[in-house]
Symmetry: C2
Subunit: 550 residues, 2 copies
Amino acid sequence: MKIALAQQNYIVGDFEGNLGKILKGIDEAAAKGADIVVFPELAVCGYPPRDFLDYKDFTRRSLQSVDTIRKYAAGKVAVLVGSPSFNNDSDGKDLYNSAFFLHNGKIIHLANKALLPTYDIFDEYRYFEPAKNFSVAEFGGKRIAVTICEDIWDIDDVNPMYTFNPMERLMEQEPDIMINLSASPFSYRHADERIAVVKANAIIYNLPVFYCNAVGAQTDIIFDGGSLVASPSGYIVDELPYFEPALRVYDCSEVCHPENSSVRDNIAPKESLPLIHDALILGIRDYFQKSGFSKAILGLSGGIDSALTLVLAVRALGAENVLSVLMPSQYSSDHSIDDSLALVKNLGSPYHIIPIHDVYQAFETALQPYFNGLPHNVAEENLQSRIRGNYLMALSNKHGYILLNTSNKSEAAVGYGTLYGDMCGAIGIIGDVYKTQVFQLCEYINKDREIIPRNIITKPPSAELRPNQKDSDSLPDYDILDKVLYEYIEHCYGPEEIIAQGFDEALVRRVLRLVNRAEFKRYQTPPLLRISHKAFGMGRRLPIVARYLE
Amino acid sequence: MKIALAQQNYIVGDFEGNLGKILKGIDEAAAKGADIVVFPELAVCGYPPRDFLDYKDFTRRSLQSVDTIRKYAAGKVAVLVGSPSFNNDSDGKDLYNSAFFLHNGKIIHLANKALLPTYDIFDEYRYFEPAKNFSVAEFGGKRIAVTICEDIWDIDDVNPMYTFNPMERLMEQEPDIMINLSASPFSYRHADERIAVVKANAIIYNLPVFYCNAVGAQTDIIFDGGSLVASPSGYIVDELPYFEPALRVYDCSEVCHPENSSVRDNIAPKESLPLIHDALILGIRDYFQKSGFSKAILGLSGGIDSALTLVLAVRALGAENVLSVLMPSQYSSDHSIDDSLALVKNLGSPYHIIPIHDVYQAFETALQPYFNGLPHNVAEENLQSRIRGNYLMALSNKHGYILLNTSNKSEAAVGYGTLYGDMCGAIGIIGDVYKTQVFQLCEYINKDREIIPRNIITKPPSAELRPNQKDSDSLPDYDILDKVLYEYIEHCYGPEEIIAQGFDEALVRRVLRLVNRAEFKRYQTPPLLRISHKAFGMGRRLPIVARYLE
């Protein structure tokens, strides 16, 4: 039996476009001699559809796509494709997250997802009733255990979050093959975890595993592909490409060939920097392509964050499509302009220089009667940042550029940024990248030749909103700050647990207070491309009015 | 047996403050001769704690509060109080949503919530394992069925969303009394639904029901109180006040007195306008009090939205604490200023007038070389709105005012607003109020005397960003628009279902496209006080990059 994995890139709610890709995949798989072609979880509507699933109309359209696929594939190839479907029982949630097994114009099997991820960015129990009945599909003389994404993840040492395991139920019917339809998003450690889970399933159940993942970015969430085929001994027979679509066909008997039972650890752990780099580029590219835009704009300050954002955008969209705007003030250092100019020259990308002085003066004059002679403070600092935001948005509105947000995760965490100023933008490019990772990514980009001028990397970070301002005036060193943030945000440790690791108590309490108090700012930031397992945004939901650790 | 309901107002994560209120409630209930005092769901930590529940530290602190309460109440009164607790099984989610029954220094019963709302603003299955075992509590010779909020809502004709009913399980043990600990948020139809649910439970199970709700606003979510006591025949013996804390004691035998078995429908349906009015005022007041602020600022345009926002803010915070800023441009009509001045005079609240002309000119001059002589368009319109946003934020930052957002729900729906301009603000006051409801609320406010000048209510709505601009140039009449929006947003009907109701097809398709395309704007808006059962924000989660109905 030949099984094709079709790792495709969909747009949520683009029924026509997604259907077109699936039909093409059917033709390609059939041409390559496949008996079954497997598409990802919720392929017909794209993942995650979120509250579009509250619209019956949305599920009806999904099912219409399934129906078209059923007819189109008849006589060509059997199909396993993901779609929402209606729960026709009177009780429970309205929908199932389903995999339709289509063959010769018929639905020969329907598998519903049992383990519904409802944590971090996932809300599946919001929409779906968990499957309660389990049966294997019969096809071509084989018994196939069809599971959907999370269904294979409740392995004891990985994620014992659920109270039962659907694969154990399916094993009662002695399947010959496991097929999993997934939409499993990227984080920089997730590929290794995924390989471990697929291996573990193969070994525990002694079955060949065919795992088909989605690829492509959906707003902030990046699907990295990397679909997998494992032999019953846990040997990874193939790993599909990362960050791009692919379709490959596997002969089941070759996958199960005894020579695949010898080596079990044939995939080395992945390095995170190249993954993050490639993920962010895909994130930018898909945001633009899927929204129908081609041109980006950003404020280039001379600092490392906007420099990194520019390089990533140029790699995603092409140098000619990324406009940098340099907006010096009286507090800008000379090197800010020089370094920025050196960078755009290296990249060959366009730029404007628009000083903010005259507008700032006009604001000061207008506000002077109402500032009551109070000293220069955050009001004047934020005003500069907001004037820059206005320039960028005016150019965006006039010419159809999309504004990239350049804030990093460390800043977003402690609220070191100006709402409606440098926090503007349609999409945050490095908002899930800690400052220390920003430095590492710049070194990675410069590994063969100096693309980002060295001075941008080595000079002390500064917002340049008052004379001789440095980030280190207000914040701990990023080396320490990022470690404390990681313990609090990624590990969810409380203050005592972090202090017990040896960090200074006053520093820890101050940082945690800063993080919690900045929730009102993060609530209004753009979506941030997610590269960690705990990004700000949909995956981290906190009240604004609260007193915990404040 | 005497049962006290303590309808209290907490702050999320304010363990010390919440504990103080609970201990006071214990003293008051004991002084009034109660045998049991009932506090709301998750009282010790406040509801909704959201992802603070991912912090073990947070649950540990909650349990410390329970421990203090246990000791404090010993010998005074028995206590039923809500707190998260740890799930000590190796499988399933880490926590339970629990009710602790404390008596004489002991935990005499622990009830866990079984039905975990995971829809709209609710995310409970994100955190909690549902209860699987059920038993009644024994106290003072009575068998008490203790349930938590949603546990009593799965009544066939109300909400058949779950596959089993915890009250049916508890009935096997023949309880004498039902007690429910709730944190059930306001929407303008919810009070009637809640009364119906409590009545239905009393009648179906033939038990007296003691229902204790929380009160107070938590950022955007408003808890309205209105706790209830019902006789076994479904007679509503008492309804606690709405929008304010209260503690009352009931004698169980009086509740069950035969005279309470005659009249079943003694509570008239509530009128929505007074509820919305009072809810918004509580929402503003609690946002400020709980955040430690007292002074608000807003842009007063001369239009009806900012006028309504100002009146509500003055009623919540006091006239002297709400600063209006009038920011005329060359496109502002004379009546904009006159009407605004008449309003602030009626209210006795302070104001500034700061024209935007000079700053606008400075921007135009700076941007002119980059606008390439292109015609006046949305870039110039948005720029005016953003200059106003900058003024307001500068005054906010200088003086510690909190900026109120004045956008209504109709605008938010179709994207008729400027990001970083009129969409600025810490909290949206009328962002869940459709434009047609804005008019109704203004008439309600003016019912005894003209507080909002009539001209503000009667003039055609306009953003005044270009000469003679009217909302009706770009949008359908609000009467029709709001109806279509309601069908799409509140009812989740698709285009065909709305068109089938008799609305013009082109208009429906255009409106739905506008709504879906404006998702990127709504993503960056402040939290909006929720008064409907489907508000923008946490309760409505949609992807930004998508093509459904576009």
